[in-house]
Amino acid sequence: MTPVSISWKNLRVNKLTFFLNVLLIAFGVGILTLLLLSTTQVSEKLSKNAKGIDLVVGAKGSLLQLILSSIYFVDFPTGNIPLEQAEAISRNPLVSRVVPLALGDNYEGFRIVGTDTSFINLHDLQLASGKFWEDNFQVVVGAEVARVARLKVGDKLYGSHGLSSAQDIHEEHAYILKGILKPTGSSADHLVLTSIESIWKMHGNEEHHREKEITSLLIQYRSRMAMVLLPAMINKSTSMQAASPAKESARLFSLIGIGIETLQWFAIAIMLMAGVSVFVSLYNSLQERKYDLAVMRVLGASACKLFCIVILEGTILTSIGSVIGLWLGHTGMELIGYFQDSAQARLTGWKLLPQEFYLVGSGMLIGFFAAVVPGIQAYRTDISSTISKG
């Protein structure tokens, strides 16, 4: 009969109270886990995709939309920019690396991105099989694309116009799959990469001698000076706009941050309520068990031991709740990820974060503090008078 087993048996006596308290703690911890998992994963994804990109230049429109479409490949592009103007910026001495992007088509919902080797270098993409494209109408696909569409090197792909629909298929030209990328955990997993010329050819630009256009440019600065000069220059003196990923994702985060904070306080309130509930349950059960405690003292248990037993009851209760809460949070996260529409931003529940130990720890602490007052009561049990009244 260790104190732990005694506490556990006491807890099992009142199953409904036990259930209610575990439920409250689990709910609070579950919500906090969910928030923790989603915010870290979203911000991780955001920063991973934006790594090495200081500025995005594209057609005028919404700054956020430009960032979302060119870095995260989720929203629609703001439009196209003339190749000539884009090249002018590439030649600017403030710029160290430029990645051109041409969007507009998709393959079974995955975006086809016309770019050059600089995109591969920027994201440090590596091949799992095959090789990179060398000629027009050759593509390299991300790991997710290959998995979902069951593609292998040598397959033929037909792109369709637009960013998501499968209508309006470009049947006149097929892409040849040359290589499959290793999984990166970033949006590159969900892309079909090819040369910009392929995109132009696909849309017949060559024949019509139209002005060549691309969608946007990803830019890396050469110096800190560029941070000040380049955006101002582009925004003022060209028909294009420049957006900073850092600034825009910070803005995005501050928008959703309010909702997250509200939920956080809500979850904390639930946890505190759980603490009060554990306190009341322990307090009440001790009133009923006063005589039991006195008898335990008679049998040789020290006052400290009784204190420990009561503290353990509170702590075991909330620990179980916390662990169930973690499980709920993770399962919930995985479910949300499963039913998510945008494949690029898919979240997963099967990832443990070090902060979760603090969550379990604070759950246990709530149990501990809720049990302190009842524990002191147990400690102070007056054996003689309790037994005389019994």
Binding site: M1, K9, V298, L299, G300, S384, I387
Partner: protein, 214 residues
């Protein structure tokens, strides 16, 4: 075995009670009698180390129990004194077997299921080892509580009105078990009672009268 000397106690707002000296030898059977209100329970609580007297000394098996620290006192009581109350008061969340195991572990002794089961057999409630207290009758509960008091082979067994809430048949069984078991374990026995059914079985009587107590 037990030596009580010049013990007195005073409840808040009441007159001080002084108890006559008592000396119980090893294996002796004593009856503690007295009208209700004469301080029988108070005396038993002092004797068993759960109520510190205002003055006097209680020595059990050579140990002055009130000179021990609180935790040592608890442990000493767990090992050397078995107590049976008027009500059995077994721990409701534990089975009968676990209640007896609890007595072993609280006394700091190794758990011994074999010994527990043997004790329950001796008490005629071996089949109830895995039952919970609410599933037992009053008589069975009282027998289990005797088992709990004796499981650690204490030198002294104290019973406070052990039969007064039982019917004749059960009172008889419980009394017989108290006497038989304390005989076979060579345990000193002190039974407080105002139950006349108990009295004939004892030769040594320590009588508390209201006068004595004052």
């Amino acid at each position: 075995m037990v030596d009580v000397k010049a013990v007195s106690y005073q409840y808040a707002g009441a007159e001080s009670m002084t108890f006559g000296d008592l000396c119980i030898g090893a294996g002796e059977k004593w009856l503690l009698t007295g009208e209700s209100g004469s301080g029988k329970s108070t005396f038993l609580h002092i004797l068993t180390g759960i109520l510190k007297p205002a003055s006097g000394k209680v020595t059990i098996d050579g140990t002055d129990i009130y000179s021990l620290s609180s935790a040592a006192q608890d442990r000493f009581r767990g090992r050397n004194i078995g107590i049976v109350f008027q009500q059995a008061h077994l721990i409701k969340s534990l089975t009968i077997q676990e209640n007896l195991l609890l007595a072993q572990s609280f006394a700091g002794l190794p758990k011994n299921k074999k010994k527990v089961n043997q004790m329950l057999q001796e008490l005629g409630i071996g089949s109830k080892a895995f039952s919970y207290p609410q599933q037992l009758s009053q008589g069975q509960l009282q027998r289990a509580s005797i088992g709990r008091a004796l499981i650690n082979r204490p030198g002294l067994l104290v019973a406070d009105e052990p039969t007064s809430s039982l019917d004749n048949r059960n009172a008889d069984t419980v009394l017989r078990l108290l006497l038989d078991l304390s005989n076979s374990h060579n345990t000193s026995l002190l039974v407080s009672t105002h139950d006349d059914r108990v009295k004939p079985a004892f030769s040594n009587v320590y009588n508390l009268t209201l006068n004595d107590a004052r």
